[in-house]
Symmetry: C2
């Protein structure tokens, strides 16, 4: 949670003169998002997000993110759409930062996703993959396999203070994944961070996907693997095969996973677990003393990684029983 | 800025079942307020604030604050009104905290208040004083003159690290004010914290007063003195007599300041400056390292106090020229 950049009412009112979204009624800094400063605006035309991009987001990537949100929204994905200024631009400057006005989506994210939520997430992910196919811009995944060793080396000196033996565990996993990581699975635009807090619901109905700031080009099935880890574990760390079956089945009905993708899924899920484990470790080891930001628990992903290491075959996710993927 | 308490969508939806404010559409933690956790809710019935009261707010005071907001709103003051649950109660419990749903007021606070804003603040303050006269509850001002010596003693050991000589300066001022503080000026309900960030505007029109969590019984003219310090200094620390004249004149038209109140105003303004100087000092000296909360600058109030020490007579606030208060 953070608002890094303060915006004065007077300068915001000036900024909004470039847009056709009515008069400013109120704006409140939102205590979420660690990369950007976010404000919820009320204007006479409705509710909007104002995002100021802080230094951790590469300015060069903003046209990709904003363009992708616009593209997906035009192709039937309910996601926040950047609002164009009268000039046609979606990216402006405010308070010394690159800034954008983005549609506000109503909805809340489920803290305890149920099977219906998991199915909805799987279906939405597949639709996103399909909708992104003709998006003309590309962005490499900055957090794919080649980034993991540098992250590991950054955390390595202190990693055993988090859990004894973690250094050697991570090193062995990294060696294993680097040797086996696939290079020829179906690929395209992926969300790369479709955790429950990025999927909004009204009741059990999915009302929108948000936070496209990790979106990039990568394997579709790697995106599925990220969701398996994010949606299908219970608070007690057990893996819920009913949720996995719902998520994979709903995905597969929209976009059929090929045999190669199905075979690779356990390996990809190990990689997905390692990726979030490593970034959480680095964040955890670098949190400033006394900061209000509570870092996410890296050990949650140690447990998920150990589970995924034990999976020999996609059937162990529960899909064989229903036969949805065969 | 802070959201201390996380609220799950599921428990919030449950909580709202006790109210007639429609279905939950979204809620966002607001990065403002250091005493409470605040969420902006959208429901099918409109926008609301959800406030969770953290431990710095005495639970015993909540009926006073909520009752006062309701009373003032019923008496023509535009201020947030607590929403009653179907039971008639305004105070509930959520996520282990006392919690209330409160009307959301549109408006923005001026970072650079102009003369029109100052006049509007003065008028609103007088109307608040009048509207509060028949409010039946009482709350002593926990930050009045008797609290200043304990605050000073808390800060004293480190105060010269903030500014050389500050210890003796504060001690002399405290001795002076304790000896001369009045005890028989007209008194009643005061806001006690009517800074620009607690006065909302739409354009130059005042749209509401907020944050009644320092409200208490004290001298009306002390509340005016707090506003003089909060509204009438320029960013370069100079005192703007045009703004003071506007604020005092507008106040006086709604509620005439007596001769005794006018005579006491420079002394009350010294006290008001010392009160905010002391609490800012204590906050400044106790901010945790690395915290995202940036403490307010105590030295701003050293300069204001020095100015107020130089004022011999209310005419020096610029009001003699217009004759509004004579």
């Amino acid at each position: 949670m953070a608002v890094y950049t303060d915006v004065a009412a007077e300068e915001l009112a000036d900024f909004l003169k470039a847009y056709d979204i009515g008069e400013l009624l109120s704006y409140k800094g939102i205590a979420e998002g660690v990369e950007n400063s976010n404000y919820l605006l009320h204007t006479t035309a409705g509710s909007f997000f104002l995002t100021l991009y802080e230094k951790r987001v590469a300015v060069d990537d903003l046209p990709f993110f904003l363009g992708l949100m616009g593209h997906l929204a035009m192709h039937g994905i309910v996601c926040p759409q950047p609002v164009k200024a009268r000039s046609g631009e979606t990216l402006g400057y405010l308070a010394g930062r690159p800034a954008a006005i983005i549609d506000f989506l109503e909805g809340v994210w489920p803290r305890k996703p149920n099977v219906t939520h998991c199915a909805a997430a799987g279906e939405a992910l597949a639709k996103l993959h399909l909708a992104g196919r003709d998006f003309p811009m590309r962005r490499a995944n900055a957090l794919s396999v080649s980034s993991w060793r540098p992250l590991f080396e950054q955390a390595a000196p202190c990693v055993d203070t988090v859990q004894h033996g973690l250094h050697d565990f991570l090193k062995a996993e990294l060696d294993y994944l680097e040797r086996r990581w696939p290079d020829n699975l179906p690929a395209g635009i992926v969300h790369a961070d479709l955790f429950p807090d990025n999927v909004l619901f009204l009741g059990d109905r999915l009302s929108g996907l948000i936070d496209f700031y990790f979106a990039c080009n990568d394997f579709f099935s790697y995106d599925v693997a990220i969701c398996l880890n994010a949606w299908c574990f219970e608070p007690d760390h057990s893996f819920n095969v009913t949720k996995a079956r719902a998520l994979l089945g709903a995905y597969n009905r929209e976009r059929a996973l090929s045999g190669a993708e199905q075979a690779a899924l356990p390996l990809l899920a190990r990689g997905a677990a390692l990726r979030f484990l490593l970034t959480r470790l680095v964040d955890f080891l670098n949190v400033p003393a006394g900061a209000l930001v509570k870092p996410k628990d890296p050990l949650e992903y140690v447990r998920k990684l150990r589970f995924q290491q034990s999976v020999g075959n996609i059937r162990e996710y529960g899909v064989a029983a229903s036969g949805l993927l065969v």
